[in-house]
Symmetry: C2
Subunit: 361 residues, 2 copies
């Protein structure tokens, strides 16, 4: 996935030392008896599993989660550690899972039925997402008929990023009540419950394994407070052209922006095909030496135009060939996500496939 992109106007820098530091910071929240698994689905949230997985393994990670079997194969190519597939066990896939030593997360009675006794697996109990997972009222019956014991019993939080929602505590209660109703051997199986926010907010749910994702990659797991994680990704983009738009002229597709005065404009070679969403049209910002430059008009497929004329007099305006900041010290991935009307996760997983990637350490 890391391809050289000669003369690319966009650079993504991945700070693997920060990724490793984030792994260690999360590890410091849990007792030594608790395993810190790493969620590396969606190509390690867009960073590239071939970079992220070895870095995380070097930092101590010994268990990885992905969404799909094909992702598990990409991770298997770079690690011998256990890999679990959150998306379940597709019909006819059991032999391939076994061959590559991939662990299915069993989400439904059908998944459990399709899983051979000698394929190690995880049971996922749904405690309130209504998405994937076994309904709590079905688990006891399924357990009583089980061909073998799962490696882990897991559940997934719906609202742990929300500091005031009581729902996470309710999910933990439902999970524990469900487990307490199972046959004795099932009560001894280790638990995997916490996502990133859960790790920081719910130590009572750390149990035997945590599964952080977004916090590893620098997203803020406690949005109401300062980010305890280090940023991992920086994106900069080169100015292709600087021009003066005249008062009364319009900018971009469908003339959505009319210039009130003569305005210095810079156009960069990045657009929605690079994962910079069109929803940022006319409202998001790029940064030049720490000062915001507003997007003028619509984000196009490969180009964005920003205003560069309102900089303080002490700040020389940028020129063709200068680099603007998209994500970096002045604009966090969380901040950019908010200004695009979404969340850091969607920004990260949409990261450019056309950019030049630079692996920092």
């Amino acid at each position: 996935m890391i391809a050289p992109a000669p003369h690319s106007p966009t650079r993504i820098t991945l700070d693997t030392a920060a990724l490793q530091e984030n792994y260690k910071r999360l590890t410091a929240h849990v007792p030594a008896s608790c395993q810190v698994a790493a969620v590396v689905k969606a190509n390690a949230y867009g960073l590239g599993v071939e970079v992220a997985v070895p870095a995380l393994e070097q930092a101590g990670a010994r268990f990885f989660y992905v969404a799909h079997f094909s992702e598990a194969l990409a991770v298997r190519a770079v690690t011998g550690c256990p890999i679990a597939v959150l998306g379940g066990l597709p019909q006819g896939a059991a032999a391939d899972y076994k061959h590559h030593k991939i662990i299915p997360v069993l989400n439904s009675p059908e998944d459990i039925a399709a899983c051979p006794a000698d394929l190690p697996a995880i049971w996922h109990i749904d405690t309130g997402m209504n998405r994937l997972g076994l309904r709590t009222e079905d688990v006891a019956t399924l357990a009583s008929r089980a061909k073998s014991l799962p490696l882990l019993m897991m559940t997934h939080f719906a609202s742990s990023d929300d500091a005031v929602s009581p729902f996470t505590a309710e999910q933990i209660r439902r999970f524990d009540a469900c487990i307490a109703g199972l046959p004795k051997p099932f009560q001894l199986i280790p638990h995997s419950i916490c996502n990133s926010s859960g790790v920081l907010r719910h130590p009572e749910a750390h149990r035997q394994q945590i599964r952080p994702g977004i916090a590893l990659y620098g997203g803020n797991p406690t949005p109401e407070a300062a980010n305890p994680m280090r940023p991992v990704v920086e994106i900069t983009t080169k100015i292709l052209q600087v021009r003066t738009g005249k008062a009364g002229e319009t900018v971009g597709y469908n003339q959505t922006e009319t210039l009130a005065a003569d305005t210095q404009l810079a156009t960069i070679g990045l657009g929605y095909a690079d994962g910079f969403f069109r929803s940022g049209s006319g409202r998001a910002h790029l940064y030049w030496r720490g000062f915001p430059c507003k997007i003028m008009g619509r984000v196009s497929m490969d180009l964005i135009t920003v205003a560069i004329g309102s900089l303080p007099p002490t700040c020389p305006p940028p020129q063709q060939g200068d680099w603007l900041e998209i994500i970096g010290p002045h604009q966090s991935v969380d901040h950019l996500g908010a200004s695009l009307g979404t969340i850091s996760y969607e920004v990260l997983t949409s990261l450019s496939h056309r950019a030049e990637r630079i692996i920092g350490i």
Copy 2:
């Protein structure tokens, strides 16, 4: 870019015969003396240049446009035809352009200065986008000092998709007025003006080359009327799990959807990391046998939950393993774009990198 994705829950089918038919339909709009170039930037709008370019060449295309030099290299790997880079000529890149026979589109006086006399190039005159391109008032001076004649003089429409905007006619007028003021040899250079919508709406601007993009890939170039193009892309996704959500329960992250009654739910293995935008949360639809199934709660990174309980009695509900339609006969790429709050272009260029791709003919 086409990688096998074993046991992938999502399939993208590319109908190369429809792509070729669309090329031929556009060709039928212009005289034989007009070249029909194909815009294949952003990896052929997400379809994959290694499939799209040979198919288009077989249909008659002999000139290709991309956004970046690195994209030009990917296209060069599959064709010997001329390839032009819309994003200009980066400093220090001229020798690489020459070596790979790539044509820069020169957008600024700086681009023109950086272009050696023996590197064939295109001049881009900005007639109202205020994005990239030479300002009309600068072109005569630049032409009088030019080291060599460009291959083509181009401009780009801002509002040609809008049936009632007078701005396209104004842009054509500005372009022609600019050319009329140039030294004689520049007045004889062929023109490249029309994008997809321009091809259908503005025959007076067909000139010597047209440059369709979105219409090749099945997007509607005349949104106020029935789509004259054939759909090229179908996306289907497999149900990972069917469940009954109980009245009063919530669905998905942050409990944004509460079930008014017991509801049959299906969860599919596709989410915003696959390019299905989070903006579709709670409002977009997937289709089962032609009937819409509304997305319940938030789109997650790898999963979406839809309601499947309101189907007519004659339609048996889908089961785990059945395939739902994302883009296909019942939901066009334009329709999905609108229901995600954006346009077909952004949907296409965000297409899944995790899906299994099937090349239909």
